[in-house]
Every structure is written in structure tokens, then in C-alpha cells.
Symmetry: C2
Subunit: 405 residues, 2 copies
């Protein structure tokens, strides 16, 4: 008898019909003799509707009250899921995050799980119940309701799997698993049977929207093996786990295109110690996440100046421009130019550690396609370049052909 944690996202529980479908899946797992813990998100649309009402009342609603408000979404789904299981004669009990023993810190809207007391869940499982836990939420030691922020339900599932020492954690979603590239752009993209935590982290960081970084980081830290699979069919999904030696045989696991970045270039920055530090400290203080940074060699004969480029998330561009212009007098750069029409292409694989020439091959492929490279950044298992957004999709398909077909 195995213990399985299954997580179903908002579209998988989007209406009463879909909730009945989830109940059928859970029933099947249980009939196979397994103990099942189900983690569910709010029904799709519910959270957005609650946020809309709150914003109608106040432009900046209190974070504590947003947690009080949004936690109701998952609470509704757990009750409806339990009702659906009862209708199939499966004993089931729903638990809020607090009732499931999920204790967090007090940072409302993005709380961190501090500790999970799995006694109540174990007790209910041992009585023969399916236990349905509200994702995305917890409770402080003082009894305050908290939420875990974006991707919080995945985190609940993975953290519960760790605390319960589950045999398997399944993340059900509306895609079949993790692909070598986004199939909407690359029709020949293939589903991966497995992927290493680090590869998924690099792909997620590179804009592949399968899972939030922190859920994967948490799984890696506690070595929780999980499977990403579809709630709409019975196809096996993608297993995410610590890398194995055989994984290194594959040089490139996947390629991605991130369209959500914007580039800022500062021309003519006087090349003196501390200038770069000053800029990126100011951006960090404004809570702006900087991804790639490139500084060109100094030039301009007499007084040495340099050009500095960096990328930020598009929604942060306005704030970043503001920060930069505030610093202009102090830094003395000539000009700042922003560009939203960029795409970041990434090639990811743990095999790169033992195989050289991936970057060279990537640049070759792009040159062949007539794509100009604007910025380059590399990690041990990833090469990323910034290019003109208009050429992004074609370039992604070319990279997929070269590395993965």
C-alpha cells in the first residue's frame, strides 16, 4: 500500500463537473489500494473574482485581510471535492491548511511553511479516509490565516509529501507533462519522461511556466520526487527528481523562449569602481528582480566609460526606468535606453557539464538563421541569449531542431 499525494490545480477543479472528474481519478487510485491525500486549488476564476471585489473597495487592501479573503477559495474546493467523493461512496474528509497542521511564518500573502504536523492527516488516512487538504494556505502559530503566494498549492503538495514521507507526489495540470519546448511554439516538442530538479529550475527561470521556482526548490531540498501529469487523460507524465548519471547522456533537455523580459542599456557610464554596485543596489531596494547583466569592455579613449545592459521583468520596466533616472546625476551616464521587444532564448541540460561546445553550436544555429545576439549569459547547465523578439519563435524552432530532433 503506497501513500500518494495528488495535487489538482484551478482548471482541474474549475466547475462541479470537473470536481466529479477529480473524484473519479482519486477513487481509481484508492481502489488500487493506495492511501490518497488530495491537495486542491481554488476553482479557476474564484480567486480573481475575490481580488476584483477587494480592489473595488480599496486600491491597496491589507495583506492580512487578503489572506482571510483568498483562503476561502481553496476551502470551497476541498468541501466540494469531499462531497464528490462521498457521492462515489468513498470516505473522505476535508481539512483547511490550518487543520492539516501547516504552520507558516506571519508574512501575509507570501508566507513560508515553517513546519507541518501530519498527525491529523495520518490519523484520518489510517481510518480509511481520503484526506483533502486546501492548497495555498496555512496558519501561524498564533492562529492567523496565511497564504503562500503564487504556486502555493504545488508547494503545499510537495511539502505535505515530504512531511508524510509519501511514496509519490503527483502534480495534475492541464498539460501532459514537461516538454522539450513549449508545444504551442514548437509543434515537434516532445514530452520528457524525466527531468532533473536543476534542469526544471533553469527552464522555469527561463520562462517555461510549468511550475513556480520555489516549489521545485523545496522538492530538491527535501528530495521529493514528483510527477507532472494531466488531469484530463491517463498518459504518464514527467518525473522530476535528483539528477542521475544517465541523465548526463542527454546534453540538452529543453529549450525555452521568455517573452516577459525587457532590456535597459546605460550608455557611457564612467568606468569607476562602485558604479555597478550602486545601480543594482538601488534596483534591489525597489524590489526589482534583475535577470541578465552584461557590461561591455571600456572604450572612449580619454575618460574611460562603459555600456551596461540588464534585463528585468516587463511589468517592472517602468519602475526600473524611474530608479535609473533618479540616479542619473550621481552616475553621470550619457543615455538610458529601454527595449521591450526582446526575447530570451535558453538551452538547458545537465549534460552540458560534461559536454563542451553547446554554446558554440547555439550561436552557429542562430547565425545560420540570421539572428543577431544582443546579450549572452551562461550557467553550468544553461546558455541564454537575448535576441530581437520578432525572431524569437523561429529561432526557438531552429534550436529545437538542432538539439532535440
Amino acid at each position: 500500500m503506497a501513500l500518494i499525494v495528488q495535487k489538482y490545480g484551478g482548471t482541474s477543479v474549475g466547475n462541479p463537473d470537473r470536481i466529479r472528474n477529480v473524484a473519479r481519478r482519486v477513487t481509481k487510485s484508492r481502489e488500487a489500494g493506495d492511501q490518497v491525500v488530495v491537495v486542491v486549488s481554488a476553482m479557476s476564476g474564484v480567486t480573481d473574482n475575490l481580488i476584483r471585489m477587494a480592489k473595488e473597495i480599496a486600491t491597496l487592501p491589507s495583506e492580512r485581510e487578503m489572506d482571510m479573503l483568498l483562503a476561502t477559495g481553496e476551502q470551497q474546493t476541498i468541501a466540494l471535492t469531499a462531497i464528490a467523493l462521498h457521492a462515489s461512496s468513498v470516505p473522505a474528509v476535508s481539512l483547511t491548511g490550518a487543520q492539516a497542521g501547516i504552520v507558516t511564518d506571519g508574512v501575509h500573502t507570501k508566507a513560508k511553511i515553517q513546519n507541518i504536523s501530519p498527525n491529523e492527516v495520518h490519523r484520518l488516512l489510517d481510518e480509511g479516509n481520503v484526506v483533502i487538504v486546501a492548497g495555498f494556505q496555512g496558519q501561524t502559530a498564533d492562529g492567523e490565516i496565511t497564504t503562500l503566494g503564487r504556486g502555493g498549492s504545488d508547494l503545499t503538495a510537495i511539502a505535505l509529501a515530504a512531511a508524510l514521507k509519501a511514496d509519490l507526489c503527483q502534480i495534475y495540470t492541464d498539460v501532459d507533462g514537461i516538454f522539450t519546448a513549449d508545444p504551442r511554439i514548437v509543434p515537434r516538442a516532445k514530452k520528457l519522461p524525466e527531468i532533473a530538479y536543476d534542469e526544471l529550475l533553469e527552464l522555469a527561470g527561463a520562462g517555461a511556466k510549468v511550475m513556480q521556482l520555489r516549489s521545485v526548490e523545496f522538492a530538491k531540498k527535501f528530495n521529493v520526487i514528483f510527477e507532472v501529469r494531466s488531469s484530463l487523460n491517463d498518459n504518464p507524465g514527467t518525473i522530476v527528481k535528483e539528477e542521475t548519471s544517465s541523465m548526463e547522456d542527454v546534453v540538452v533537455r529543453g529549450v525555452s523562449l521568455d517573452r516577459n523580459q525587457a532590456k535597459v542599456t546605460l550608455f557611457g557610464v564612467p568606468d569607476q569602481p562602485g558604479r555597478a554596485a550602486r545601480i543594482f543596489r538601488a534596483l534591489a531596494d525597489a524590489a526589482i528582480n534583475v535577470d541578465m547583466i552584461v557590461q561591455n569592455a571600456s572604450h572612449d579613449g580619454g575618460m574611460r566609460v562603459t555600456d551596461l545592459s540588464f534585463t528585468v521583468d516587463k511589468p517592472d520596466l517602468l519602475k526600473a526606468s524611474h530608479v535609473i533616472h533618479e540616479l542619473r546625476g550621481e552616475l553621470g551616464f550619457k543615455e538610458a535606453v529601454a527595449n521591450e521587444n526582446i526575447g530570451k532564448l535558453s538551452v538547458v541540460g545537465v549534460g552540458m557539464r560534461s559536454h563542451s561546445g553547446v554554446a558554440a553550436k547555439m550561436f552557429d544555429v542562430l547565425a545560420h538563421e540570421g539572428v543577431n545576439i544582443d546579450m549572452i549569459s551562461t550557467s553550468e547547465i544553461k546558455v541564454s541569449v537575448v535576441i530581437d523578439l520578432a525572431k524569437g519563435e523561429e529561432a526557438l524552432r531552429a534550436l529545437h531542431r538542432a538539439f532535440l530532433e
Copy 2:
């Protein structure tokens, strides 16, 4: 500085605009220097929508899970109300029933309040906050979420007012207070400045839908004085309290017409000890609430038989007919006849205790109007009669004219 508990029902918080309106009222009370505890219901429509989804999934959803589901409605309103108060710069904290210390028994969907620990509410009030408590819900000593059933938010407000030793409890609704009769039927009905608990209990029992019986009973038991008033204007409402000697000067406080009753008559019941007990035990076992019972004198020369009539709530009529027909063989009555076209007229007032002749005057008025009386039942402070439903409204207006204009 007074401590006021204010309760706002579902229509008073039915959308973000109305919630802002509630915040304005609360702010005004607070600016007058009072401490305010606000009890809110779910936004109108929310609870019905949740019930609809549950019934779409299962015809008979588990009561524990219905509580888990429905408790979210009030939790949403408390958060939105706190957000609205913050937008007016009023410090406010929302609390679920559990967080507010409302402990109930474990009878899901109709739990009874066992005890309220008001420490947290007092602490937050003393810090200068408006405290917003979710109505209709509580928690068992084991941490199970429960709801209090119909009219539960009124009960929350009155029980909190008792536990907090509040100076005033205001029940805000969409009418101006309690009237001498339903103004939709009797245009000349007048708002009552005050009414005794017992009078309100008799009127509510007689179909006036101002408040649920058990909230009034609770208020009477703990001597909580409360005011029923409108959330849409500033008119003073109706004060509900223990009767005073001056109240007896008014013979009739109000009249009402209950259209929600149906009558069952059993003809030719053998007049033997235990027959009536057998019938009403069977109805009670089927959870059917019987209101009026009338048994005529025995007749039919040789074998003594009698006719027995009783009234039940219309929705229970089918169930009651079923119970009666199951008993037919055992009881040996000749015929059972049901009639849904009846109305129950009631005349209520504590002054009746010291004034005789109310029943006689009532029968006179009805005779004058050509209304035939079908059944009669009296209590110390009420006279009720069953009549033909078609004559109900006209008869109610006649009684109002005779006793109250």
C-alpha cells in the same frame, strides 16, 4: 464609551458598494467614541450559489462538508468589510467564528453555541480596532468548523453581545424595524418603538419573518436588549426587551397572517386513549413540526369517534400525509383530508394578560367580515385562528383597523 455590537445581513453587504456603506455606518458609530463589534452574513446570493454547486455534485451532501463550504461565505464578507474600513482609515481586524472564540457543539448545519471566549475580541477592541466577526459559524472544541443554521448571524450577534456585556446590540436589516403588521399587506401598519421578547416570539411563531425564534429566545434568556433597524437610513428602529409594566397598557402589539401552514383533518378517529399520542409521536419522529391541534367533541352514537385537525408547515405536508397513511390501519380513522388553502391569523400582545375580551372582539370582527373560523388556538398573549386563505389579507386589514388604528 459604549460597546456596540452591530449585525448586518446579506443584502446589507450584498456587493462592494453596500460593504462600503456598512463601513461608513461603522465609522460614524466609532467617531461617536464607541467600541464597535460588527457581525456580518455572507453576501446575498453567495450561500445559495454554494449550495447549488454542492447539490449539483450530490443530492445529499454531508453536513460536515456543507459547513466547511458555507462558512466561506461569511469569511469573505469579514475580509471585505475590514478592507473597506481600512480604506476609511479605521483600524479593523476580521475574525472567523473560531478566531472570535465561538465554541459550538458538533451538530453540523445547526450547531448550538456552547460558550464564547471573548478575550481576543476584547484585546483587539482595547487596541483601538473595530472587530469584524463572521456570523453564522463557530468551531467545536476539536477544531471542526460548524454553522448555526438559519438566522445564525443574528444569533452570533446576540450571543456576542451577551458574552461581551455590550451596551447595545443592533440588528441591521432592509426594513425599518418591527411593524404592527406586514406593511406590504396593511399599508397603515406602523413601526413599533418597542416590543417585548414574548410578543416578538409569538409574532415570529405566527409567521412574521423578522427574526428566527431561537435568536429571540437566546436574547430573552440572557436579557440582551437589541434594536432591529434599517441599514439604508438613519431612522430609529424597534427596541426588543423584557416586558415592562407600561407595555401592558397596549392590549394588542401586532397582528399577523401566516400563509405557510397547511391543515390535515382526520375524520372518524375511534375515541380511545393513546390515539392522539400515537399520531403526534409519529409526526415528531419524522421531524415534522405541528403547530395547531384541535380535537372536536366525540359523536356518532354507538362507537364513539372524533375528528382531529392539525396544521403543519406547507413544505412538510407531503411527508405528514405519508406518515398519516402509514398509520391508517393501526388508527382506523375513516378519512384524511389535507388543505393547503388556509391562513393563520394571529393577534399578539402582553396586554392580553390583564385585558379580557380580545378573542371575543377578534371573532366579532371576523364575523362582520363574513370570515368563517376553522380552528382556534390561544396562548396567554396570543389568539390565533385558521381561516380560508383567500380571505386572509382582507381579514388582516380588518383586525389591524379594529385593534391598532
